[in-house]
């Protein structure tokens, strides 16, 4: 009976992960001091595993709290016997690393980001949001729910770091000499499907082609202006096709 009461009143069993931005920020400061040495500044992993993918990213909030507080015996993950409130703050920060951008607190000016997207940045020449914009880049209508802030930043500042499925640059030369240039939606030894800059789809058989070049370099130019990146993130982080209702863990 005493044990039962203990379990029911254990602070980590009844506490909730804080969601206030201040708690996430406070958690970030604790993380930078105690965790980033092994897990990297953005959770990308170094000596310790990545927190952005793999087991750590799949743990429920309470399980993650438990690992931070108690460590993982038999591994180099030590315990952090801090006040529960602080452990919860770290938990909230780690969780924010993998949270969709829509649920993250982002700085920047979304209106300026929109203006850049459809104006000076020429992003809308290749990307579309709810029918507005161009081809053949990825549709960004729901990007705020599909990517973390970290991923958005990487895609904008280092577009070649990761190219999504169906967006590899492709140049196909047909036997007659005609050239089709765009992104390869799919390809194998027998066929290739290319969307060109006009949004037209070309269904090609490899036997029709004199050559097919695929590039690992993104067609997208990097955005180097730091303010523009921040504003773009602010704008893109809020792009969802439906009101975002979060995900429970």
């Amino acid at each position: 009976m005493r044990f039962l009461i203990l379990v029911l009143t254990a602070p980590w069993a009844i506490a909730q992960m804080p969601t206030a931005p201040e708690a996430v920020t406070a958690g970030g400061q604790l993380y930078m001091g105690s965790c980033s040495g092994c897990h990297g500044k953005t959770g990308e992993g170094s000596q310790g595993p990545s927190l952005l993918s793999g087991r750590a990213s799949r743990l429920g909030d309470r399980a993650l709290f438990g690992v931070i507080r108690n460590g993982l015996p038999g591994t180099s993950m030590p315990d952090f016997p801090l006040a529960n409130e602080k452990v919860w703050q770290i938990t909230a920060f780690v969780r924010s690393l993998t949270a969709p951008a829509i649920s993250a607190n982002v700085g920047g000016d979304a209106a300026r980001g929109r203006a850049f997207f459809f104006g000076e940045g020429k992003c809308s020449g290749c990307h579309m949001i709810m029918g507005e914009g161009g081809y053949p880049g990825p549709d960004l209508s729901n990007i705020g729910a599909e990517r973390t802030v970290h991923q958005l930043r990487e895609s904008i500042a280092k577009p070649s770091a990761r190219i999504g499925d169906g967006y590899r640059g492709a140049t196909a030369t047909l036997r007659g000499g005609r050239v089709v240039r765009g992104v390869a939606k799919n390809f194998n030894n027998y066929s290739v499907q290319i969307v060109d800059g006009g949004g037209r789809l070309h269904l090609l058989r490899r036997s029709e082609l004199a050559g097919l070049e695929l590039t690992d370099e993104s067609m997208m130019p990097a955005v180097s202006n730091g303010d523009a990146v921040t504003d773009l993130i602010a704008f893109l982080a809020r792009r969802t096709t439906r009101p975002y209702e979060g995900e429970s863990r």
């Binding site: 020429k122 020449g125 290749c126 579309m128 709810m130 029918g131 161009g134 081809y135 053949p136 549709d139 209508s141 729901n142 729910a145 599909e146 169906g166 640059g169 240039r181 765009g182 939606k185 799919n186 194998n188 027998y190 066929s191 499907q193 969307v195 060109d196 800059g197 006009g198 949004g199 037209r200 789809l201 269904l203 058989r205 036997s207 067609m219 969802t240 096709t241 439906r242 009101p243 975002y244 209702e245």
Partner: protein, 524 residues
């Protein structure tokens, strides 16, 4: 820098799928759920014939990740095939089966199956299980709009393949088993704004509302979960409606319960009803009339007429005049039919009292699944035959007078099979005017299929069977020509199309799309 020219690429206009092009379907393409507005599912393609059908071979298989029960009839346009599963759509290279793009409606709720796509302009359209209409660019899958047309939170859900008519995308809802009020809505294909809505249960005080007693229209059912037909010359949309709710107990809804179990003829521009015909007044057997409405022009009793025919779930094959809605003829197309002594000269059935379900259970034929259902029939004008998958089965139906609560799973209670009398499926060829049986092709199996048919000018009818085969039979005789076992149960109807001069036949099996064509030596 070599990409600079691409970035500067002008936005050239794409080939547009016009209403005129849809009116000519099917040809090489298959542009609506049923291929044509008349829902004949008859293709002019004639490369595959009774003589060469035995040379059909599998060309490709596309597995739909996570699919448990594909029910979609694919659409094919310009070498691209569109297939839907719950809340998602795939565009496939129709020649190779390779995925070109994939769209998942993020955040969509509900798990109901999906039956397919509509295409118009440079867009394809489908519905999510939570009643949003989604418009996508047909070549890239880019999202154009996602609009809600009925409230999932309010109990609505849907599985329908929408129908593109003029500048509208027509959609419907499920709800016959859960107490929602059915409707057909036309949504502007360009803007996503609703243009008109026809409620299949009249509001209090409207004509027809007197056929419900005091039962609330909001709970009436009469759902619109299958795709209607369209006659451009008459500017009329024909939509079939489902059962009144609760399905099996009618005591709280005295009267005919209009416009449940009916066909409603609607003005294509306004949605105003021109006429209606009710197949099963005051239904207590769950005999939705959502079976395809096939539009046929023929000489009937010496006079050229525009007809509408339907092999109804209640066991009768009906012939109506689609200009006026006049009942012309009906005839049973199953042997197991015992609920009525027959129809009067207006097509109204005389119900046998002892066949009205009771709390103790009542044996009724046909079964709740019906003599046929949403599995698509097809009609070949050259043979004058309608090819329809039929089910010979009876059920025990149990009724309850319990207070009905919508969206609670309560249907006025339900049905159970009779273990010693399992259902038997047949592909039947009916004379389209008389409904007389010309031939039948038995389909032994576990009694689980919901697959339909496609007819071709080559004289071959393709149908799924109850044992997981796609079968090809001779349109004139029903003789078996070819079959292929997909190792899946079948819940969809096949389509046929042509790419690069070759005819193909496709069908969605449980978790994959299979495509067949005539054997061609490698490299050809």
């Amino acid at each position: 820098m070599k990409w600079a020219s691409l970035l500067m690429f002008p936005l050239l206009s794409m080939a547009q799928v016009t209403p005129a092009a849809i009116a000519k379907s099917p040809n090489e393409d298959w542009l609506t759920y049923n291929g044509d507005y008349a829902a004949t599912r008859h293709s002019p393609l004639r490369q595959i014939t009774p003589l060469n059908a035995k040379s059909l071979v599998a060309k490709w298989v596309f597995r739909v990740d996570g699919a448990k029960k594909l029910e979609a009839s694919p659409i094919v346009y310009d070498g691209l095939m569109y297939v839907t599963n719950t809340n998602e759509m795939y565009a496939l290279d129709a020649l190779s089966g390779r995925k070109v793009w994939y769209y998942r409606a993020a955040g969509a709720k509900g798990t109901r199956v999906n039956r397919g796509t509509a295409i118009l302009g440079d867009r394809v359209y489908f519905v999510t299980a939570d009643c949003h209409l989604v418009a996508l660019n047909r070549m890239t899958g880019n999202l154009i709009f996602d609009v809600e047309y009925a409230s999932f939170a309010g109990g609505y859900t849907t599985s329908i393949a929408p129908l593109a008519v003029k500048n509208g995308i027509l959609v419907g809802v499920a709800g016959g088993g859960s107490g929602q009020r059915g409707f057909v809505a036309a949504i502007n294909a360009e803007t996503g704004k609703e243009m008109w809505r026809f409620w299949t249960v009249p509001a209090k005080g409207e004509p027809g509302s007197e056929t419900w007693g005091n039962f609330p229209a909001e709970m009436g059912g009469a759902p619109t979960w299958t795709t209607g037909s369209y006659d451009a010359a008459l500017n009329t949309v024909y939509w079939p409606t489902g059962n009144p709710w609760p399905d099996f107990y009618g005591g709280r809804r005295p009267g005919d319960n209009l416009y449940s179990d009916s066909v409603v003829a609607l003005d294509a521009d306004t949605g105003k009803m021109k006429w209606h015909f009710q197949f099963t007044p005051h239904d207590v057997w769950d005999w939705d009339a959502n079976e395809n409405l096939v539009l046929v022009d023929a000489v009937f009793r010496g006079k050229p007429r525009k007809l509408l025919v339907q092999a109804n779930r209640n066991g009768f094959y009906y012939v109506l005049d689609r200009v006026t809605g006049e009942f012309l003829h009906a005839r049973p197309f199953v042997k197991k039919l015992d609920w009525t002594t027959g129809l009067d000269d207006k097509g109204r059935p005389q119900v046998i009292e002892s066949k009205i379900p009771t709390p103790a259970g009542t044996k009724v034929c046909p079964s709740v699944r019906g003599a046929s259902n949403w599995m698509s029939p097809s009609f070949n004008p050259a043979t004058g035959l309608l090819y329809v998958v039929t089910l010979e089965q009876c059920d025990i139906i149990v009724a309850s007078a319990k207070e009905p609560v919508p969206a609670s799973g309560f249907r006025g209670t339900g049905n159970e099979g009779i273990p010693t009398e399992p259902g038997k499926f047949y592909l039947r060829a009916l004379d389209v005017l008389s409904g007389e049986l010309k031939w039948e092709y038995p389909m032994p199996g576990p009694g689980v299929m919901w697959a339909g048919t496609v007819s071709t000018a080559g004289g071959v009818v393709f149908s799924g069977d109850d044992d997981g085969n796609l079968v090809a039979v001779d349109a004139r005789t029903g003789k078996d020509l070819w079959h292929f076992s997909m190792g899946h149960s079948l819940f969809a109807s096949p389509v046929t199309y042509m790419v690069d001069g070759r005819q193909y036949v496709s069908i969605a099996a449980e978790s994959a799309v299979f495509t067949f064509g005539l054997f061609a030596p490698a490299g050809q």
